[in-house]
Amino acid sequence: SPSLPSGGAGALAQWVLLELQGQVEPRQSGDLAGSLLGDLHYTCEGVPVLIVGHHILYGKVVQLEKPFAVLVKQAGASQPSPAGPHGHYTVTALIKTKLLFKTRPKPIITHVPKKV
C-alpha cells in the first residue's frame, strides 16, 4: 500500500508556508515555472513585507498549531480521486511556520503628478 517514507536519511527538511489572498497568476501568458513572484523582506521587528508587482503586502509570522507535511507524488502514480489521494507519496518536508499575508495590498504609486 502507498507508504509515506521520509525522503532520505537525516532530518526532514523544514519549509515555510506563504499564505496569500487571491490567485497567483503569471504576468505574461505561459508557465508559472521560473517566473518571479517578488521580494520578501522582514522589518527589524520581524514583520514580513512582500513586494509583489506593484503591491506591498504586510504579514505576520505564525507558528502553526498543526504543522503540515508536504507530500510529493511519486512518478507514475494514479491521479488523486475525490475519494482520496491514492497513489505513492513521499513526505518531503515539514512546515511549522507560515507567513500570513492577510492585509489588503498597498499599491505602489510609481508616478506622482507634479504640482503646478
Binding site: A13, E19, L36, G46, V49, I56, K73, V91, I108
Partner: protein, 392 residues
C-alpha cells in the same frame, strides 16, 4: 528568468518607499521553481503526535482501495482524510528563513534566491477515526480453517492472507490490525492468518473441557504439557495450544511449568452460541436449563455472558432468546442504528449498549451516540430509544 541583483532589489525598495534601515539586511527573492505548477506536491495537516512520528523517522501510510475513502495510518492509529478548501493561496517555500533564523545566524545573508516548490488552494485534513476492521473478519471468513483432515484446504481456491496482505487491504494501522487478529482468536497456519470454523473450534474446545473433567483439574490450573500429551494424537499440537490460548490465560508457575486459567465466561458464551445457532429463537427458560447442563462441571451460566451475542425478548409470552451477533451488524454508525431499529422498534439502554459500544470514538460515550442517532421516550415507566426517522 535571470536572478535579481542587489541593485534591482534596492531599486524596488526605493520605488516602494520602504526604508532599508528599518529592514533586516537579507532579502528572499521568490520565484516559481520548475515543478511548481505541476500539482505534484500536496499538503497534509498533521494531528498531534504525527509530526513527532515523522521526525523520528517513522512513516505514515495511506490505505484504501479505489472504492474506499482513503485513510491515513500511523503505527497505531487511523485517520479519515478530507480535503479542506481555503480561499487563500498556500505557497510552500524550501529554504525560506524566518526573522529569528536570520538574526540567529551571524553569517550575513544578502540575497536568498528561493524557489517556490508548489502551491495549493487546499490541503488534506485528518480526523482520528475507528479503524475499519469489519473487513478483516470478512476476509478471514472466506475460508475458515476446518482442521487438518479437511479436504477443503488442499483444493481451496479462496485467497489466504498473510500479514502483508492484510496490511494492504485493511484500512487500519498495523497495531490495530494485529490487536484485532488477537481479539478474534485468529491464528497463523503455514504463514497465513486463519479463523477457525466454529464447529471445528467447538470440537477442539470439547476435547479440552472433557479432559479437564476426566482429570479433575481445577479450571484455573490446566497444564499445557498434559493437554498436548493426551490430545496430541487427536489434533495438531498447535491447534490444542491455540484453543487453550483462545479460551484461557496463559501463565507460568514458580516451577516454570505452563498452565492456563480458563475463561469461564468465554466458554459458557461459546456453548450458548453453539446451542442458539440451530434455531431462529428459543424459549428462554428451556434454553437456560439446557445451557447450564451443557457447560463443563463447575461453571455457572449467566445471561450477561451473552452480551453482544444474543438478545432476550421480554415482551413475548413465554420470553424468548435469539442469536444476534454484533459482528454481523453494519460498521457504519447510521447503518448500525437502522439495522438495530429494524430488528426491534424500541430498545432500553441496557439492551442496546452491547450492540453500539464498539461504535464509540475515543472519549465518546454510549449516551452521546444515543443522543445523536436515537430519540428517547418513556414506555411503562422505563426509558426507551427508537429511531429518529420512520422505518420503511
Amino acid at each position: 528568468a535571470a536572478m535579481r541583483s542587489r541593485a534591482e532589489v534596492d531599486a524596488t525598495l526605493q520605488t516602494a518607499k520602504l526604508n532599508p534601515a528599518e529592514l533586516l539586511p537579507a532579502v528572499h527573492c521568490l520565484s516559481f521553481g520548475p515543478q511548481a505548477g505541476g500539482g505534484e506536491c500536496c499538503l497534509l495537516q498533521l494531528e498531534p503526535g504525527l509530526c513527532a512520528e515523522l521526525e523520528a523517522g517513522r512513516s505514515l501510510v495511506i490505505r484504501g482501495e479505489k472504492d474506499e475513502h482513503a485513510v491515513l495510518c500511523s503505527k497505531d492509529k487511523t485517520y479519515d482524510m478530507k480535503i479542506a478548501d481555503t480561499s487563500n493561496m498556500l505557497l510552500f517555500v524550501p529554504g525560506c528563513k524566518t526573522p529569528e533564523e536570520l538574526n540567529a545566524d551571524q553569517a550575513s545573508y544578502n540575497i536568498i534566491h528561493s524557489q517556490i516548490a508548489g502551491f495549493s488552494k487546499n490541503y488534506w485534513e485528518l480526523r482520528r477515526c475507528r479503524p475499519k476492521l469489519k473487513k478483516l473478519r470478512k476476509l478471514l471468513m472466506e475460508d475458515p480453517y476446518e482442521g487438518p483432515d479437511s479436504q477443503k484446504d488442499q483444493t481451496s481456491t479462496f485467497s489466504k492472507y498473510t500479514t502483508e496482505d492484510l496490511l494492504s487491504l485493511i484500512q487500519a494501522s498495523e497495531e490495530e490490525i494485529l490487536h484485532q487478529l488477537q481479539v478474534i482468536d485468529a491464528c497463523k497456519i503455514e504463514g497465513y492468518w486463519r479463523i477457525l470454523d466454529f464447529d471445528y473450534e467447538m470440537k477442539l474446545l470439547n476435547h479440552v473441557t472433557q479432559l479437564i473433567d476426566s482429570e479433575s483439574w481445577p479450571l484455573s490450573k490446566v497444564p499445557l504439557c498434559a493437554c498436548l500429551e493426551e490430545l496430541g494424537s487427536l489434533e495438531p499440537r498447535e491447534m490444542i495450544e491455540h484453543i487453550l490460548l483462545s479460551y484461557g490465560r496463559k501463565y507460568v508457575d514458580d516451577a516454570g511449568e505452563v498452565f492456563f486459567e480458563m475463561h469461564e465466561d468465554k466458554i459458557c458464551r461459546a456453548i450458548a452460541q453453539m446451542l442458539l445457532q440451530n434455531a431462529v429463537k428459543f424459549n428462554l427458560s428451556e434454553f437456560e436449563e439446557v445451557w447450564q447442563q451443557s457447560v463443563p462441571e463447575g461453571m455457572t451460566t449467566r445471561l450477561d455472558q451473552l452480551q453482544g451475542l444474543a438478545l432476550v425478548d421480554k415482551s413475548s409470552r413465554p420470553e424468548t432468546i435469539f442469536l444476534l451477533k454484533v459482528e454481523d451488524l453494519p460498521e457504519d454508525n447510521q447503518e448500525r442504528f437502522n439495522s438495530l431499529f429494524g430488528i426491534r422498534e424500541k430498545w432500553t439502554e441496557g439492551d442496546i449498549t452491547p450492540y453500539i459500544q464498539d461504535l464509540c470514538a475515543e472519549k465518546q460515550t454510549v449516551g452521546a451516540l444515543l443522543t445523536k442517532y436515537a430519540r428517547s421516550s418513556m414506555l411503562n415507566g422505563v426509558k426507551v430509544y427508537n429511531s429518529r426517522r420512520p422505518i420503511s
